[in-house]
């Protein structure tokens, strides 16, 4: 391991966020407030008080870590976990509130692509301006100018004002300048999602080579593929604290499983407290993975098992559990009931504890968060006994390490569902004769099935 280059000790950063929304006020109150405002503002300015109702939040809280020369360190976490704040403190854009960091070496930070680009200036001028802003010396830019232009692939337009560039050209040029920074420590915030797919691959490659050159890189991203490829070590931030720090795949899986908004189990010990009525009550609902372990974060190619346990007290009604799956946009993706099971459907429910499991196959739900509503009801005539919304929630994500509809496409895949559908493609060679198509050469790409080997949704009792 190389020399120590960054050490953070008890690093904390506090932000003020604005006053909370107050109730309606009368015009008179507003006017009085307005009249008093200059006085109060002056007093606050002098005493450096905070505004009433202002809230303080700790964006970073007691962050400790060390980075050694040549490490490529990933920083992951949900939005608001403090990743960007950490980079801002490390790059000295903002000061910590308490604690300290020591950094040995020249730091270059790339928190945004194209910072300081001016639309009226030409590509050439912007390379110099942006380079200077990012901390390159003039001589350095001169030396790398051709390389930058070649990387950006906009040779022809280098003397055109960038306001005439397409957004893709603009981003390519901006990334090209940034990619040629040569600090000893490079801080990068989520900048790989630039340009088309081909250019993104190029950017990834560039980042990889930067890592291999022995430079120290701190890399913030939500893209687990990129983190997996680039980093040997990852820090997971949660609510401004270091939640995990270690080997990349371990920390990534901890992150994916530790989603607190996910709820993988709800249980009621006493029937009296459970949702339901004298006919049926919920006992337990759970999300299980293929090995029947509790799970709330599923790989896209893995099946999702939803287990519903309930008490049946009244044999009069042939009720059944029904699941409604909503995605994060509150679209109902599917409704599923156990009504295709002849051994179960329409039969009376003798008293007992029932357990029903529904399996959503892998490679079916698209990436995202899902909420599960659980109903227990009779379909016809419509009669509900249990109706509980958002009992469970889970995440489906594609870490890119296997077969799925999006494969290694690095961005979001459209669609409510993401099944791998069978495709057939045929090609007819361009014949010389008119109107006589050559003998068709037919290729059939078979439907790729999920890792488990079952593609259509199937219910399991």
């Amino acid at each position: 391991m190389g020399d120590l280059v960054i050490r953070s000790e008890q690093l904390s950063k506090r932000y003020r966020i604005g006053a909370l929304q107050q109730g309606y006020r009368t015009l008179r109150e507003t006017l009085v407030d307005l009249a008093k405002a200059p006085y109060r503002a002056a007093r606050r300015a002098v005493r450096r008080e905070s505004k009433p109702g202002e809230q303080l939040i700790w964006a970073l809280r007691d962050i400790d870590f060390e980075v050694h020369q040549g490490e490529v360190l990933g920083i992951i976490g949900r939005n608001g976990a403090g990743k960007s704040t950490l980079l801002k403190v490390l790059s000295r854009i903002t000061e910590p509130t308490t604690g300290r960091v020591r950094v040995a070496g020249r730091v270059g930070s790339l928190l945004e692509v194209g910072t300081g680009f001016h639309p009226e200036l030409t590509g050439r001028e912007n390379i110099y301006l942006n380079g200077a802003i990012l901390g390159m010396r003039n001589a350095e830019i001169d030396q790398r100018f051709d390389e930058i232009v070649a990387f950006s692939e906009i040779e022809k337009f280098i003397d055109t004002p960038v306001k005439h560039y397409s957004s893709g050209m603009f981003l390519r040029l901006a990334f090209a300048v940034a990619a040629h920074l040569t600090p000893e420590i490079l801080l990068v915030d989520e900048v790989l999602a630039v340009g088309d797919e081909r250019f993104q691959k190029k950017c990834m490659g560039k980042m990889e080579s930067v890592g291999k050159e022995g430079r120290t890189v701190l890399f913030v991203s939500h893209n687990m593929n990129a983190i997996q490829r680039l980093c040997q070590r990852v820090i997971l931030l949660e609510d401004g604290k270091v939640r995990a720090d270690g080997e990349t795949s371990e920390v990534i899986s901890e992150y994916l499983n530790a989603d607190r908004s996910e709820a993988e189990c709800k249980e009621w010990s006493e029937p009296a407290l459970a949702p339901g009525d004298e006919t049926a009550r919920l006992k337990r609902v759970r999300l299980l993975d293929r090995s029947n372990a509790l799970c709330s974060s599923f790989e896209i190619r893995e099946p999702v098992q939803i287990e519903v346990e309930y008490w049946a007290f009244n044999p009069e009604y042939p009720f059944m559990p029904i699941l409604l799956i909503h995605n994060e946009n509150s679209v109902c993706v599917l409704e599923s009931a156990a009504n295709h099971d002849p051994a179960y459907n329409g039969k009376s429910r003798r008293r007992g504890i029932y357990r029903s499991v529904c399996t959503i196959p892998g490679n079916f739900l698209n990436e995202g968060m899902y909420n599960v509503d659980v109903l227990v009801r009779v379909l016809v005539p419509r009669q509900y006994f249990i109706r509980e919304s958002n009992l469970l929630s889970f995440r489906v994500q594609d870490s890119g390490s296997g077969l799925s509809v999006k494969g290694d496409f690095p961005k979001a895949w459209s669609g409510v569902v993401a099944p791998m559908l069978p495709w057939e493609t045929e090609v007819r060679p361009l014949g010389s004769g008119v109107g006589t198509p050559g003998s068709p050469h037919k290729t059939i790409v078979p439907a790729s099935v999920s890792a488990e080997g079952k593609s259509p949704p199937k219910k399991k009792k």
Partner: protein, 283 residues
Amino acid sequence: MESSQSDFTSPPTDIAPSKGWVSLRLRELWEFRELLYFLTWRDIKVRYKQTVLGAAWAILQPFMTMVVFSLFFGRLAHISSGSSNIPYPIFSYAGLVPWTFFAYGLAQSSNSLVGNAQLIKKVFFPRLVVPIASILSGLVDFALAFIVLLGMMLVFGIAPTINVIFLPFFLLLAFITALGVGLWLSALNVEYRDVQYMVPFLVQFWMFISPVAYPSSLLSGPWRTLYGLNPMVGVLDGFRWALLGSTGAPGPMIGLSIIVAILILISGAFYFRRMERNFADVV
């Protein structure tokens, strides 16, 4: 955690909360001189983009003001150019050239931090670079307007005196004053956008209390001393003295102007540095 320096092979930079009044870190500013150059260059380059008249604006503004002044103050109000017999148009234009530089610098620097908010939020550099660059970019306009001034002197047959060698000094004084006030206002503007609305008014007000349209000799006695607290009095009188030899050599009043200008600059710089730590969070 034990914090020992020895684990680092090269001496590390310490990033820690700064307490109380902080140093100006002028060395760091010097290290970023290339950025200062590029930001100035950018402001100059961009200034008259997409205008029909382009750099002619640099001349038109003071020149047209001079015409209006000559008409209303010179002809109608019969304001003289002081003890000397310099024609009023030359007199007022020689004041307007440094005044325009000052007023432009003040307005630009006050707004500079807010105008460069994107940069400040995303990149580290000594923030002092921003207001300094915004004032420096006014030098090109100044140079253009100054050439016209020389042309006018030629037309009116006025030769510059030997004192012209002091001209850069008065320009520097105008720069220091603009920067000092600009530092205060730009730092305040980050938190209180009221400043934006105050600046045009301040510039106008300041012009009335400076000898732009009238000679400072209109004031006398104790009023004159009070007047000297305004550094622009020293700048404008000095400018006319150095170039036209119109007013007498600057006396002790120029000393007062220099002291006030430097006090504003130093206090502004410290205030700016103190507020700097929050710029990225607030702007």
